[in-house]
Subunit: 396 residues, 2 copies
Amino acid sequence: MEYQFSDRVKALKPSAIREILKNSSAPGIIPLSAGNPAPDAFPYEDIRSISQELLENTPIEALQYSVTEGYIPLRQHLMEYMGRKHRVGTDSDDILITSGAQQVMDLLTKTLLNEGDAVLCEAPSFIGSLNTFRSYRAKLVGIPMEPDGLSIEGLERALETEKNIKYLYTIPNFQNPSGITMSYEKRKRVYELCRDHNVLILEDNPYGDLRFKGEDIPSIKSLDEAGIVMYAGSFSKVVSPGMRVGYAIGPKPVIQKMVVCKQGEDVHSNIWAQIVCHRFMTETDYEAHLDRLRGIYRRKSSVLIKALEEHFAPLITWSPFEGGLFAWCTLPENIDMLDFVRRAAERKVCVVPGTAFLTDESESCQSFRINFSTPTDEQLSEGVKILGETAREMAR
Amino acid sequence: MEYQFSDRVKALKPSAIREILKNSSAPGIIPLSAGNPAPDAFPYEDIRSISQELLENTPIEALQYSVTEGYIPLRQHLMEYMGRKHRVGTDSDDILITSGAQQVMDLLTKTLLNEGDAVLCEAPSFIGSLNTFRSYRAKLVGIPMEPDGLSIEGLERALETEKNIKYLYTIPNFQNPSGITMSYEKRKRVYELCRDHNVLILEDNPYGDLRFKGEDIPSIKSLDEAGIVMYAGSFSKVVSPGMRVGYAIGPKPVIQKMVVCKQGEDVHSNIWAQIVCHRFMTETDYEAHLDRLRGIYRRKSSVLIKALEEHFAPLITWSPFEGGLFAWCTLPENIDMLDFVRRAAERKVCVVPGTAFLTDESESCQSFRINFSTPTDEQLSEGVKILGETAREMAR
């Protein structure tokens, strides 16, 4: 049979990251391309004892159908916790538990976007989200990144010239892939500009708890008096990505529509995982756990920095970063970036080419992304060494 | 802020079943409206020991990111098992693990359907799937049901007259809500007609293993030489719905596109649940478990039938059923069905009005759906008694 696909799907390609990830688990590969939490970051002993207690005492609750909005104690606790600790969420907001934060991107887009409507994105930005927006045939408009966050001039220009802008997508903390953190001044300005143009903000914050240097900066959502910010949170980087538990906190009318869309997508998220997340947050010392994670990534990032200084400098540069899981590295003009990534892969070192993160993948880009949470210390040092050697050979 | 929703979402309403379900867990309510497995159907002791062993020995595997296609051992086992036991799946087919079978409906629709394209559905049909199709702005075309499955005449007429038909959606076994099972002769005819008109078939089979009377009938997928059938399977009714594990077996090119769509929706399904399902299928006596489930529902259905004979006959009729979780009951013409459902709810008995399952909810319908898996035996008898009394009062 000749299969006729929908227009939206005809143009879609598999995520470059996912495709690379598939091979990156092959034996002998040094995986600097992934975004997996470090194996020692998983609180698996607590998860095991919570899970055991749960399946012992209230198994039906953990295995039966549940409501689309999410496990009520988890929703209540997150609203209280995020309000108290981060000033995220108001009386006009509601919360929806999702199957990972990726589903927040999907549900908000489904709720707001007609084909051809515009989404403003940081350029570069997280490929997984960009592909979700593409799957709804969004027009992606890239706003260039600067060392303190997206270009305000670029944002102003886009807000003035683009039609039917549905939202701005931003990752203000330790952005994936650039590692950049948006300054507080820019957060305020971005909020005001979007509010004045009646444009929603989708604030994606998977790495906020993973700051290992410097001071926390209040989220854009904490400024939200007008009800224009949808905040996406996730347990993937702080508890477990395999559980697929994320959440959206945003204006009630928008959350209500997202709930209806979620009913049609997966009815509700895995309830065992939701209960485990709730008990882990409330029955263990959650803040101590986050401190421990920051310690792990502070240490791993220093292993990376040491290797970069030894093997990259001065040929390959990298952007400073104060948290998250990634370093954004840039080759000199005389080295072809895609060719470099290909040669590195032949030498069994996987990194993600920067073009994968652009709204237009055909644009030129001299950067690539290194992840430092997945590899072992030895892999990290060895991988960076091979990357440095490869670049030096190509620069000759 | 004035929120501007997408066209697709403006018209959507929350699922009537989900809305009713929310109240049906209130204290004192007799829940004949749900579709939950019976509490004693959960193999929670096996799940507990598998989960414990898993989180003890390979915790990282159960908590880390995984691949979009699904846990490879589960995919391999399901292909082997479904091929051997049900002749489902060929060399031209592939398998995708989904977040419940609901996600199969979503991903196939996203993959195939442009706005305004037609989906042929049994009338009545499962509201959850209909709402998913609606969320992509499908034109739903209802094919009337007969005691041995959908009307072949109705299907022929639709295939001749409707434009841009993307697929036929059918639940051939113990259909939700009608309880009807499609005869083998009709399955063959439906397959041939769709094949000859280049129309795919989405065969949804959540209840196939729950036959407690009569003989199994081969699935439509088992006839599929042309690669036109997408088969949707689910662990919700045989292991646990809260885990949200389902699967699609269908033509490789279509599965590939569905994988890309799933990447953008939730990256992958909860991996703990996928591993638990795999080990449960392979490390316990799965066939004995299915036998036990059939015993549970055979017994519960006989409690229902006894109550129907005592309290419904001859005023309210019901369709015969040989498996599944539902009975489809029909009121005489002189009783207003929606008024009846409302009065029953006032007396704390929840059933689902038949109109909820129509492609056009404004059509008239004298039927309502009773679920016999969720309530206790006492609730079942008491609920049917109250429903019978309500109908008799209204018939006066």
